[in-house]
């Protein structure tokens, strides 16, 4: 009876059988990496906006406070996107003819809002409130990254649930004294965890990891 398979089949089957384990492991690893990559999460990816607004220019070079534009961040769940009026407080006088700012002036003339593209868009099944985080000492930069250094704005973090839980499970690693919440480039001088633990005591910070805190 003739052989059905070429002798090389032996090697081939051994390699595929033993290699199968590694193939499965590698596939899983790739899938998990892709799921966390900026290709999927859009973290670190610049969003194109109707006007190329630079946080670097306004925050780092001019020193404007976050709250000048994002006015409701301390009282509301939503930090607030400034109306055209806020832009025009300065830009009616400064760079008032710059071509780059024409969409702003057009919005001002017509009364039609600028349509900014939202950079941090949480899914609707997750509830988030800015005011409580700001009040308890979570700095703007803790979540939003070094916004003052972004010429064009990107989202610093993935907004994956594991990222939220990183802080909710160990807030002492992230909280800062309330007076520094809006300070750009703030770094704790001593031991962050020691200071963090004191802050947790002092301000009664007890972030819950109960499902219905965010999924209401």
């Amino acid at each position: 009876m003739p052989q059905i398979f070429h002798p090389s089949t032996n090697t081939f089957s051994k390699v595929t059988i033993f290699g199968g384990v590694f193939m499965v492991a590698a596939t899983l690893w790739v899938l998990l990496s892709v799921e966390r990559s900026s290709y999927v999460t859009q973290a670190q990816v610049v969003r194109e906006q109707p006007v190329p607004f630079s946080h670097r220019h306004h925050v780092s070079q001019l020193g404007i406070d976050c709250r000048y534009c994002h006015t409701s961040v301390e009282e509301s769940s939503f930090a607030g996107i400034p109306p055209t009026k806020t832009c025009m407080t300065c830009h009616s006088q400064i760079h008032s003819t710059a071509e780059m700012l024409e969409p702003v002036r057009e919005s001002w003339r017509t009364g039609k809002s600028l349509e900014w593209i939202r950079v941090h868009d949480l899914p609707d099944f997750a509830y988030f409130n800015h005011s409580i985080h700001v009040k308890k000492g979570v700095g703007c930069e803790t979540c939003h990254g070094p916004v003052g250094e972004m010429a064009l704005t990107w989202r610093e973090h993935s907004l994956n649930m594991e990222w939220c839980l990183e802080c909710h499970r160990a807030p002492e690693k992230f909280v800062r004294p309330p007076e520094f919440v809006f300070t750009p480039n703030w770094k704790s001088e001593g031991d962050q965890e020691m200071m963090g633990k004191e802050l947790l005591q002092k301000y009664d910070i007890k972030p819950s990891t109960n499902c219905s805190i965010c999924h209401r």
């Binding site: 009876m1 059905i4 899983l28 998990l32 649930m161 594991e162 839980l165 990183e166």
Partner: protein, 462 residues
Amino acid sequence: MADQVLDKKEHSHHTGAPLIEPGHSYGSVTDKISSIVLTRKTPVAWFLGFSVAFLLLMVFLGSTAYLLMKGTGIWGLNVPVGWGFAIINFVWWIGIGHAGTLISAILLLLRQEWRTSINRFAEAMTLFAVAAAGMFPLLHMGRPWLFYWLMPYPNTMALWPQFRSPLVWDVFAVSTYATVSLLFWYVGLVPDFATLRDRTKNRWAQISYGILSMGWRGSAIHWHRYETAYLLLAGLATPLVISVHTVVSFDFAMGIIPGWHATIFPPYFVAGAIYAGFAMVLTLSIPLRKIYGLEDFITMRHLKNMAKVMLATGLIVAYGYMIEGFTAWYSGAEYEEFMILNRLTGPYKYVFWSLILCNVAVPQLIWFSKIQNSVVALFVVAMFVNVGMWLERFVIVVTSLHRDFLPSSWDMYSGTIWDWATYIGTIGLFLTLMFLFLRIMPAISIFEMRTLVTDDKKSKAE
């Protein structure tokens, strides 16, 4: 010890019906079983059966497609009966699967040689029943494509499954069971695949069976490794026979629902599973031996033995029903008492009493040797048990839930047309796989049957 085993063998050969009809040789056994797959014309009954099964499979496809479009609202589930057909059918199918592992693993370790001619298709039955069972929790999820959330893996939600939930234990129990059963079945098939590879004239069949037989040449080393692996797998599978349905029973027993929260549940469920499994093996083997003319290999002795196992486990199940009633009375808890009265005399009393008829009354016929010797009667009894075990799960699930602690939320439950379509559809899935298996794989273990031939000659020589 060895002498004792030998004695027993001889004893069984002299008294009971034989395990294999006399006059068979190695060659004739191999010819007969492999010809079903390789040379014999596929019987008309196969085509008829397969068409019906495939039609039902299409019903499953249709009802699943509609379910994915509309969501689980098309099923009859609602408050207070949040668990209906989905769990009933899941438990029913998983239970049916149990006979396969029991026959292949436990009976192997206990050296019950009569298992040899039925273990192969009983194992196939197990696999297909587990596949059918798996459909229900998957579909009940609503978003079945996210099923992998039930597995512990480093996900972006930084969450683990709820390890305190018996439903998560179920995932592990059933997937382990499916894996071990598949391995056991496959390892047992390897020498037979090699036989088919060597006998077929068809090039494609040669290649396919060649790949499946993994280079089996039947050398002494091969046989040595095979025996070791098979015994090890049997050892692994044995605790699974007990553990899987125990965990399934925990789905109920861990809940503080009257009628569920009872310590009798694990043994009672395991016995019920073996009961249902043997009923299904009888249901399948009786037409199988008839259609393919395998009466020489699946003899009356096999049918009788299976019927006896059915009778024994049926009595354990009946004891379980009794204890349920006793516990309810002895507990003195008014909700337990109400539950059992509601079960016996409430709106679902007809279901309950039909269950008693099917599972407790009818199987007592097996005590009579006339029934034991009648193939038709055994088939009818097995069908009663198949139905009875489904009714049992219906009674456990529905009567415990539909009148709960709060009379204002009492309600009646019944399956919708989509519940029935999905259920009947999985029967189609099961039968389709079974028919395909019969067509392309040896339904009876060829090489193990050959060992019975040797024994026969030896005992004659002695």
